[in-house]
Symmetry: C3
Subunit: 312 residues, 3 copies
């Protein structure tokens, strides 16, 4: 693997998931693979799971890790071509990406959608800027468009938890007081489109995801119908894509409850707002897979780093 | 040791101090004990000594260390039961503690008293929230109620410096412009109650510490009487406990001076405001033990981590 | 080497540069030299290159690294003698420096000029405060007066790129919207004064650097004359030294262009504001050495750390 910008950078998802599950059983097996190699994590946004699990994954592989909060510890980057930089930006991505490449062997980037400018978010300016100008492999720790480490962890979790050949998996929108990006939902959809599964996306009118991503997927505005006989229910909020970044409504009827969930397993990428997205009793039940999803973030990151290290 | 939430988690303080002094002589002796083990430090408040000494202690034991400033690098946690999380908090301690437990073998937490809500501070909501929900051992790097790593370092310093069987040790309040927590004083008192010593607490009226902690201790409002024939004088400011979090006065007469100190050794946890808490000449004299106390923070953390690692 | 506060701490610059170039060819050759040694990086200001390259250098030598953003993760230090610390400062440099010395073997400090008080900046209060009170070697990661790791990296770059015996090297001021410190220019001048080169400083009237530093150097207000037949052009903005910290003008005629540069190589310490300091076509041309300068920051830091480790 030369980079990990989206789930599409994985050739064979099934075998990649299986390799990750093998790593989970023997996390230090490849402890020498990363010797004398440095991973640099650059955070343009806050993080808990990604921050800790990606470091842990690198440590398992024997890598050194350097963490930097670019926003608070560095300065504002310029992404425009030909800009006269006499305003707030102090360094161009052309220099920043090449410079970081001097000090590390792999660079991982987190830069959320700002939900202010659809075109800029869709272009993933920070991630793609590094991908274009860095001379080392780039890993996406959540960009404005996708969160492929989360989607890979979710694929691992589904594989571990699924006992039937073709499960019914539902991605169900949930209300949230703030406008959230589409990245987790996008990457989950892209991942599910490569699974043996009956996959349904359910959300209120107005919350359609990018049609270029959901193309071919079953989409419904009827949550009840979607949840019927579901094996896995992945709940997630996102803001409107058409009315870009807007919170059109916070309809509490879309909150997940134990009654709605039925016998299905519950999934969420975390952090989750209890009793807004989902009721306490779901999260506290054995049907909740959220902690195992978080655990699998380590092995998703580790298999990606391993495949990149083998390619370097 | 299964956790280190308070000094009470040490069964035999005397032997623990002796083991720490042995470690200090051979800090890398147990360099393989922490191999393949990760310590995660979570800071909800700022730190200098604790931040550096705890990392150093873990490195001595061969552990990997991951540091996170939870407030600025993560988000606000919810601690209430059954809360509808539609306000400022983004993740519940139930998830956060379990999630962090996936990525580390020991988690250490710093979360100061906010001095706004006595009941909430007394409940140590952050520390006890992690202790309750984490599935790995938790270490207290200063909670709203106690600072047991400091108290253990102080016990080490007393043991090293004391040449008589039953020294007189005085905890003497000092003025300070800001309202400070009670944690250092509380843990020092709890530690001293387990020492062979004549222990006296001196402070102005209104500054009585939590009686549940000071019970049985000698308390006086007369600093001069307390200091008479003292061997060690531990100076520290704290705000009122009864008038919770208030600065009742900043009486400069309580400032420690070389004259008042006499032949005693001077102790303070640092940071210390020179010429407010204590005069320059005390800090610059050979009677000051403050730098050695800071040095012993490493070995306090190291003996705690070692005992926990041996238990894992 | 006992410390690295300025380029003057290098006895023989030529052989030091040659050793750094040897290290660059075999960066892990001395991987055991730093075993069981800890480098503590204290940032009072933001950093990208210095933050990453100094960590990388330490890792090459097998050192452990602890990074702390003193401002945001610690508190405000007091530097005055005899101050009654009843205001904003919580800890005196006397304690802070001695305390940090307990937890590390080498401490590196970044503390920029604030450009508010010339005398205070000239005294390098933070760096010299640590140098005076720390009991371990101190490394300058850019002080209010100098940036000797940058200057050493620049010396390495010049040595690698120079094919003639006595090149003409020009330090040419450039416009910038904000008031910038003199540190990079100062250290570059000090370094050049120890080189076999024809060295010229060019800047508009009013931008003379500290005459105590530039003494003996050729200084001109005529950029065209300075650039004539130049082999290397180092471009950098700085604010006025006489009208301390003021931006007297932002004359765009001083911006570097490909036409002005001629056949010379272009150097800049980065971050650089494109089309303000220098045009895109210069930075994107093979004449630009900026990425190699950044790369050499690692080996500048590494040779300094190596020489200090050999002295400890």
């Amino acid at each position: 693997m030369q980079q990990y910008l989206s789930i599409k950078d994985i050739d064979d998802l099934g075998s990649c998931v299986q390799e990750a599950i093998d790593l989970k059983a023997h996390p230090r097996k490849h402890r020498n693979l990363g010797a004398d190699k440095t991973l640099c994590l650059l955070f343009f946004n806050n993080s808990l799971r990604t921050r800790l699990s990606t470091q842990k994954a690198a440590l398992h592989l024997g890598m050194d890790v350097i963490v930097m909060n670019f926003g608070s510890e560095g300065w504002q980057l310029e992404f425009g071509d030909g800009t006269v930089m006499d305003r707030g930006t102090s360094e161009h991505i052309k220099e920043a990406a090449k410079v970081v490449s001097q000090y590390a062997d792999i660079v991982a980037i987190r830069a959320f959608a700002q939900l202010l400018d659809k075109e800029q978010d869709q272009a993933e300016v920070v991630l793609q800027g590094f991908a274009k100008h860095a001379t080392i492999p780039v890993v996406n720790m959540e960009s404005s468009v996708g969160h492929p480490l989360q989607a890979l962890a979710d694929a691992i979790t589904l594989s571990e938890q699924c006992t039937i050949k073709k499960p019914k998996v539902v991605l169900s929108w949930a209300p949230h007081p703030k406008a959230l990006p589409h990245a987790v939902a996008n990457s989950f959809v892209e991942m599910m489109q490569r699974q043996q599964a009956e996959f349904v996306i359910a959300h209120p009118k107005g919350y359609d995801l990018d049609p270029a991503i959901t193309q071919g997927a079953t989409i419904t505005y009827d949550q009840d119908a979607a949840l019927k006989d579901a094996d896995f229910v992945y709940v997630k909020n996102w803001s409107s894509f058409n009315h870009y970044g807007e919170v059109l409504n916070q309809d509490p009827h879309w909150k997940m409850t134990l009654e709605k969930l039925g016998a299905a397993k519950f999934m969420h990428c975390l952090p989750v707002r209890r009793n807004v997205i989902v009721t306490d009793d779901v999260l506290d039940s054995p049907q909740s897979l959220v902690i195992e999803q978080a655990n699998n973030r380590t092995y998703a990151a580790q298999i990606v780093l391993k495949k990149i290290l083998e390619h370097i």
